[in-house]
C-alpha cells in the first residue's frame, strides 16, 4: 500500500479506463440517437485493430485467405491509425445500412435491431477470421518509432513504470473526447445531432436530414470503435477475431454505469471501471473480468439511470 503502488495502479486504471470510455462513447452516441444498442460495435472495434495492423505492418497475417499477401507500402503508425479509423467509420456506415436502416424504414420492433446487429457482427467477425486467420497478432515493438518502451521513476525504494503505450492511450483518448465534446456542443452539425437525439420527427420537420445524421452518428461511432480497438491492440495484442466481443460487453457495463446516452457518463463510467479493475487486490485478480459486471449490477439496483443519467419519466 505504498505511494508507488498507488500511482502505478492509478496510471494503469486511467490509461485502460480512458480507452473503455472512447469505446463506450461509440455505443452511447448511437443509443442517444436511436435508443438502440448496436451490438456490432465490438466487431467494428476488432476490425479497426486488424485494419490498422495490416496498414502498419504491410501484410495480411499468416493463415487466413489473404495469408502471404503483402501491401506495396507500409504506413507510419500514426497514418495507419488514422486510415484504420476512417475505414472503421465506413464499417460503421455499413452496419447502419445493413442492420438498422431497413428495420427503421419498416418501423420494426427494436428487439429485431438487436438481432440484426448481432447478425452483422457475426458476418464481420467471421470475415476477419476468414481473411486474417484465427491466430494472435501483436504490433511490432517499434510502432512508435524511437519512443522508449517505458520510463521508470523511483519513489523511495519502489519503482513506477510509465509505459509509452499507456501515455499514448490516455492522451489520444482524451483528445478524442475533447474533440467530440467540441463537435457536439459548438458546431452546427453537433447541434443538429442533439436535436435529432431529442426528437427525430421534430428535427426532420425543422429541415434536418435525419437519415444523414444517423449515418454521421454511425460513422463517428465506427471511428471511435476502430480507434479504441487499435489502442487496445497495440497495448495487449490482437487476440484473435473474437477479441472485441469481451470488450464490447464490458463497454456495455461502462455506459450503464455512467448513464445510457450520457456522454460525460460514458467517460466517468470508463474511468471508474478501469480504476476498479486496476485497484483490485492482487489475490482477487482471477475475478478481474467480473468487476465491470458486478458494478453494473449494483448500479442498476441502486440507480438504474446510471451515475450521470437523467431520470426517464414513463410516458402513458
Amino acid at each position: 500500500m505504498s505511494l508507488a503502488w498507488f500511482l502505478q495502479n492509478l496510471l494503469n486504471g486511467l490509461s485502460i479506463g480512458s480507452v473503455y470510455a472512447v469505446f463506450a462513447l461509440g455505443y452511447t452516441l448511437v443509443f442517444s440517437i436511436l435508443g438502440i444498442i448496436n451490438f456490432a460495435h465490438g466487431a467494428v472495434f476488432t476490425l479497426g485493430a486488424y485494419l490498422t495492423y495490416v496498414l502498419a505492418v504491410g501484410q495480411f497475417g499468416l493463415n487466413g485467405m489473404l495469408a502471404g499477401v503483402t501491401l506495396p507500402f507500409k504506413l507510419p503508425f500514426v497514418l495507419a491509425l488514422l486510415a484504420g479509423a476512417f475505414l472503421s467509420g465506413l464499417a460503421g456506415l455499413a452496419v447502419e445500412r445493413l442492420a438498422f436502416r431497413p428495420l427503421r424504414k419498416r418501423g420494426a420492433d427494436a428487439l429485431l435491431a438487436l438481432v440484426s446487429s448481432l447478425g452483422v457482427a457475426l458476418i464481420l467477425v467471421n470475415l476477419i477470421q476468414y481473411l486474417f486467420g484465427a491466430e494472435i497478432y501483436s504490433f511490432p515493438p517499434d510502432v512508435f518509432g524511437s519512443l522508449p518502451a517505458a520510463m521508470i521513476f523511483k519513489i523511495g525504494d519502489k519503482i513506477v513504470a510509465v509505459r509509452s503505450v499507456q501515455v499514448i492511450l490516455f492522451g489520444v483518448s482524451m483528445l478524442l473526447l475533447l474533440a467530440l465534446v467540441w463537435f457536439i456542443h459548438f458546431t452546427k452539425q453537433g447541434k443538429a445531432l442533439q436535436a435529432t437525439a431529442e426528437n427525430p420527427d421534430t428535427a426532420s420537420l425543422l429541415g434536418i436530414g435525419v437519415d444523414t445524421f444517423i449515418m454521421g452518428t454511425f460513422f463517428i461511432s465506427g471511428i471511435l470503435g476502430g480507434l479504441s480497438g487499435t489502442l487496445i491492440g497495440v497495448s495487449f495484442g490482437l487476440a484473435g477475431p473474437y477479441f472485441g466481443v469481451a470488450y464490447g460487453l464490458k463497454a456495455l457495463a461502462v455506459i450503464v454505469l455512467g448513464g445510457l446516452g450520457s456522454i460525460p457518463g460514458a467517460v466517468v463510467g470508463g474511468l471508474v471501471i478501469g480504476l476498479a479493475e486496476a485497484f483490485l487486490p492482487p489475490d482477487m485478480s482471477s475475478y478481474k473480468e467480473a468487476v465491470a459486471y458486478v458494478l453494473l449490477f449494483v448500479i442498476l439496483l441502486v440507480r438504474p439511470q446510471g451515475l450521470l443519467g437523467k431520470n426517464a419519466e414513463q410516458k402513458v
Binding site: 431497413p102 438481432v115 448481432l118 457475426l122 458476418i123 476468414y130 457495463a253 438504474p304
Partner: protein, 290 residues
C-alpha cells in the same frame, strides 16, 4: 435410413435441446421482459448434473439409484434454479427493457467468472467423462422430446388460463395492467422463474448428452443464439422457438459444404430474416393482422 439417422440424429436432438432453451427465454418474453438470464441457469443445471454424476462423494447414491440418478439431477437442478431465480428475479425485474437485458447479461458474465474460480466445477477445464444415460446420442430424444411436449402443453394451458393472459396484458401495456390491479412485479417474476427452472432442467439433461461441461456452455453468445431462435421463429407464438431453432441449428450443417464462409452466411440469414420476416417464421403462416 440407417445412414440418415446416424448422420442427422445428433442434429435432430440438438434442435430439440436448443428449442427448449429458446422456450426458456420465451416465458419472460410472454410478459414482455427481455432476459438472457436463463442461459446462465442452463450452465448452472449442467454443472449440477455434472457434479452429481461424477463427484466421488456421491458414488453410493449413484449405486443405489442406478438410472434414476438422472431424474434426481433434473429435480435438484430445477429446484436450485427456482430458488436462485426468485433471488435474482425480484431485484432485477424492477428494471425495464434494455436495462433488464443488460442486468441479465451481467449475471451471465459474473456467473461464468465465479464458476471459473470454483474448484468443484473444474475451473477452465470443466468436468468431463460425465456418465451417459444411453448408448447412443440419438436416444437422448427420450429426455428432450417429452420435456418439449410437456413444455408446449404447459404453454397451451397457460395461454388459455388467467395466468397466461396476465402475462400478455403486461406485455401489451404494463401501465394499464398495473392500473387494472395486476400484481405486475410478481407476474414478471413468475414468468422469469418458470424460464429459469426450464433452463436448469435442460442443462441437467444436457450434461450427460454432451459428456463434458465447462465454462464454454451457457455463454453470452449462446444466450444470443437462443434469443435469435425466438425472434426469428416468431416472438409472439409458442412455436417460434422450435421453428427458429430448426432453421438456425440446421443452417450451419446445411452450409457445411461452404466450409469457412458458412458463418458469414449464417449472419446474413439473421439480418435478412429480421428485415423480411419481422413477425418471424410463424408470421408467414398466420394471416396478416392489419
Amino acid at each position: 435410413m440407417e445412414d440418415f439417422i446416424s448422420r442427422y440424429g445428433f442434429l435432430f436432438v440438438t434442435i430439440i435441446q436448443q428449442a427448449l432453451l429458446g422456450l426458456s427465454l420465451y416465458f419472460p418474453l410472454m410478459a414482455g421482459q427481455l432476459s438472457l438470464a436463463s442461459i446462465g441457469f442452463y450452465a448452472l443445471g449442467g454443472y449440477v448434473a455434472a457434479i452429481m454424476g461424477t463427484h466421488p462423494a456421491l458414488a453410493p447414491l449413484r449405486e443405489t439409484l442406478g438410472f434414476f440418478i438422472f431424474p434426481l439431477e433434473w429435480l435438484v437442478a430445477g429446484l436450485i434454479s427456482i430458488l436462485l431465480g426468485l433471488g435474482l428475479g425480484f431485484p432485477a425485474l424492477r428494471l425495464r427493457g434494455i436495462y433488464l437485458a443488460l442486468a441479465t447479461i451481467a449475471f451471465v458474465q459474473v456467473f461464468g467468472v465465479l464458476v471459473l474460480n470454483m474448484p468443484i466445477a473444474g475451473g477452465a477445464v470443466g468436468i468431463f467423462g460425465i456418465p451417459q444415460a444411453f448408448e447412443s446420442r440419438l436416444a437422448y430424444i427420450w429426455f428432450f422430446g417429452p420435456l418439449l411436449v410437456l413444455t408446449l402443453l404447459f404453454l397451451k394451458r397457460l395461454e388459455a388460463t388467467g395466468t397466461g393472459r396476465l402475462f400478455f396484458s403486461i406485455r401489451e401495456d404494463e401501465l394499464a395492467a398495473r392500473a387494472m390491479g395486476v400484481n405486475v412485479t410478481w407476474r414478471k417474476v413468475q414468468a422469469f422463474v418458470i424460464g429459469c427452472a426450464l433452463a436448469g432442467v435442460v442443462g441437467a439433461m444436457s450434461a450427460p448428452f454432451l459428456n463434458t461441461w465447462n465454462t464454454r456452455q451457457g455463454t453470452f453468445d449462446a444466450g444470443v443464439a437462443c434469443l435469435a431462435y425466438v425472434l426469428i421463429g416468431g416472438a409472439r407464438s409458442k412455436w417460434g422457438a422450435l421453428l427458429g431453432a430448426a432453421l438456425l441449428v440446421s443452417l450451419p450443417e446445411l452450409l457445411r459444404p461452404l466450409k469457412d464462409s458458412r458463418m458469414i452466411l449464417n449472419g446474413l440469414v439473421l439480418v435478412l430474416a429480421c428485415v423480411y420476416m419481422p413477425q418471424g417464421i410463424v408470421g408467414l403462416f398466420s394471416r396478416r393482422k392489419s
